[in-house]
């Protein structure tokens, strides 16, 4: 898995009450009990971690963790 994915998992474990071991790439946010407000919080945290702005539609509760990592990667690539 990519560096961004690993950092995303670390964020989820640190700030969102998840255990790193229970996070799988193909799990969706809703399967991890993360609702829309939780995703707004994740957006704020990710902005700090990755230096990219995530809009409401960028990560949704039906997305998998791997998809979210790809979205963030694409955004960071765009910065370059």
């Amino acid at each position: 898995m990519s560096d961004v994915y690993e950092r995303l998992v670390a964020l989820l474990a640190e700030g969102f009450g998840l255990e790193a071991g229970e996070i799988e790439p193909e799990l969706t946010f809703s399967e991890l009990e993360m609702d829309s407000l939780a995703l707004v919080e994740l957006g704020l945290t990710a902005q700090q971690e990755f230096g990219v702005t995530l809009a409401d539609e960028d990560i949704q509760s039906g997305d998998t963790i791997a998809q979210a990592a790809k979205t963030i990667e694409a955004k960071t690539a765009g910065l370059g």
Partner: protein, 417 residues
Amino acid sequence: MTSDRRPSDRRPSHAAVTGIGMVTAAGIGAEAAWRTVRAGGATAAGPVPALAGTPADFGCAVTDFARAGLVERRKAWRLDRSSQFALAAAKEALDDSGLDPATWDGARVGVVLGSGIGGAATWEKQHRVLLDQGAQKVSSLLIPMLAVNMAAGYVAMECGARGPNLVTATACASGATAVGVARDLLRSGACDVVITGGTEACLVPSIISGFSQMGALSTRRGEPHAASRPFDRDRDGFVPAEGAAVLVLEREADARARGARVHALVSGYGASADAHNATAPDPEGAGAELALRAALADAGIGPGDVDHVNAHGTSTPLNDLAEAKLISRALGDRPAVTSVKGVLGHALGAAGAIEAAVTSMTLEHGFVPPTANLDSQDARIEIDVVSKVGRDTRPEVAISNSFGFGGQNAVLVLTRA
């Protein structure tokens, strides 16, 4: 207006306390808290790291809460500490009651909690984010973590209680008001079970500095264990505390029918306002007396029948004197009076609920705990305050007083089951 219409015209209504849960500085869990309270040794206070650098930097904090793991991590991160306390106490109380949320009719289960301040720690933290980083960094969870009603909402989500759901806010009487209102919901038939109590977690610099600037707090920084000393000559203010207590209430007949263990009965409730001053009590306790007399009338109990008073007893010079005058005038010198704030400090909106829980256990165990740190009773206080050692006197009828800023008073009558 007529003065001869009295609530005692109604049949007395007993709500059975079938479950108790507590989170306090003196112990997490009702049994642990009771053990410390019944010993009555010292104030469960110490320096509070979050208050470091302020003049009032000590209090009764719940130090091992996170480590106790009572709230799942997945939920805890998005709940203010005050809601976490409420969830932990509610879970303990429900387990104790033997009721099963998987099988009950949730529409008949209400939740009424008291809270004075709400999610103060969250508000303070996010206000700092606003000032330092700007509005767009403020947490989207600020409102559900801050709003004073949310603790009751979260308890309902946790156990599927879909009946009436509210938080009472009568400052330091909030927890007692909640228990009184909960009993009314059983009496009216609106609910069959009410999960009630109170929660508070505001040991944060802005709030405690506010109390400190009022001159309400003890300044005994060098001796926090001796700082809360209700009714003592040398009392100098209250010691702020955090915590929660939850009681499960059912109509007595329902509780008996299902063979539940009944800790005690909530048999009367009275409420009133001083209509006097924002923060000072009526010096003669006239407003509080209205609540006390209303509670006795509601219970159909005479003043001469009261064996025990669990006093508001904050350890402030004004409260303890006014309350003692009231007790003396209304109940005489018969009741054994105690203030558990000597041990627990003053948990503000949770205090009335914590004290209702302790009073229930006092009746259940037949043991009146002593008032901690009462070394020399104030000579102007002419009531029988239990000090040093508790009394094995098996009280039958107890009063629990709670008086809030704003002049808001709530008095409960509890009786032995």
